[in-house]
Amino acid sequence: MPEKALLNELIDSLRCLPGVGPKSAQRMAFHILQRDRSGGARLAAVLAEAVRSIGHCQMCRTLTENALCELCRNSTRDDSVLCVVENPSDVMALEQATGFRGRYFVLGGRLSPLDGIGPAELGMDQLAQRLDELRPAELILAMTTTVEGEATAHYVGELAAERGVATSRIAHGVPLGGELEYVDGGTLAHAFAGRRRVAAE
């Protein structure tokens, strides 16, 4: 049925989005074509423009349409603290959840030899260069707690140690509102080892 070719291609293309299977892709395609053609046209235009002009910040490697991202251009941020994260979405999460006022560096993934991701793919050279320029007083490692995240944190930590930069890692432990008996053993062991002295009133 050649007259369905374009429709099928649309459905197929929509499946590149996370969480979209054949059924939802079909629903989306029919929705756009039957009820919201102008929305569809706008989506198509914005998507094309975004894919074309959003690149990486030259300084921190996060996603931006400019040469430097907003956070790197902001001169009121604290240059003495650099936080290294895996993904641009982590920057957003930290900005929303914490009062962090320092700088970021986005690796864009984590070291994973079996996926073919090594230091070069993550811009470790660029990070080393950034450390040399910025000379921060503290480097904060905010990685996931997977094996690959650990390896990445260790690698970045080595870069910082070679330059005499003090390094800290975000704590991992019991989630807020979590009950101890439901926390898995590894997390509990970490939380226990990383306990903090309670300040006296």
């Binding site: 030899p113 079996l114 991701i117 997977t146 260790h154």
Partner: protein
């Protein structure tokens, strides 16, 4: 249930993981852990280097992980030993065939990971594992005697060739290896730094031969 380790895991769909396991009775295999990433179903341990007991179902190339439980005390690998663990995983992944069961290989992997987690010096652990693994795969080093059928002498020097083994050499040049190093590889005992260095260089050459041009990306982590 059988003992297994996760060699590698990556996202598969929204909430599942596609894993490569090294299982005691089934060898290396691919399986899907359905819903492993779904919130609050963190009971399935999804970390490499954690000794597991797993139950698998299904047939064909990709199985289904129906149950996985952490077993035994687990001390996570840290620092350089973590890099070493990733190196072992890459070796196993790239040199073994899927579903080629070898209990001895699993046992050697298991003890290598335990030794790394106990923070023993990593290099002897890696060399022992490499030698044993190649032996289990039927492509072991020829360390019983030299190419002329004579016993290896600690004080002699040899040129090691993958096909023929240790060829006695009169030169003391860069490409040669001491009998002491070959004997150390055979026994898995490394007492000197020169022996360890020579063993590393030799094993690297032998492994590169068997990898047939495919690079080991985990080597890039060691600086």
């Amino acid at each position: 249930m059988q003992a297994a380790y996760i060699l590698h895991a990556r996202r598969y769909g929204d909430s599942s993981l596609l894993m490569e396991l090294l299982a005691r009775n089934s060898g290396r295999l691919a399986c899907v852990a359905k819903g492993a990433l779904r919130a609050r179903r963190q009971q399935t341990p999804v970390q490499a280097f954690q000794p597991l007991q797993v139950a698998l179902s299904g047939r064909g190339e990709v199985l289904t992980l129906s149950r996985a439980e952490a077993c035994g005390h687990f001390r996570p690998l840290t620092g350089r030993n973590l890099y070493c663990g990733l190196y072992l995983n890459e070796l196993v992944q790239k040199l073994t065939a899927r579903q080629d069961a070898c209990v001895a290989l699993f046992e050697d992997y298991d003890s290598a990971i335990r030794e790394l987690s106990e923070r023993l010096p990593a290099e002897p652990v890696l060399r022992r594992f490499e030698v044993q693994m190649l032996r289990h795969l039927g492509i072991g080093l020829l360390l019983e005697q030299d190419s002329q059928g004579q016993p290896l002498e600690a004080t002699n020097r040899y040129t090691y060739e993958v096909q023929t083994g240790a060829v006695p050499s009169t030169e003391n040049s860069a490409g040669t290896v001491s009998g002491r190093t070959l004997l150390a590889l055979r026994q898995g005992q490394f007492d000197e730094t020169t022996t360890l260095r020579e063993a590393r260089q030799l094993m690297r050459r032998v492994l590169d031969h068997h990898l047939d041009g495919r690079p080991l990306r985990s080597r890039e982590l060691f600086r």
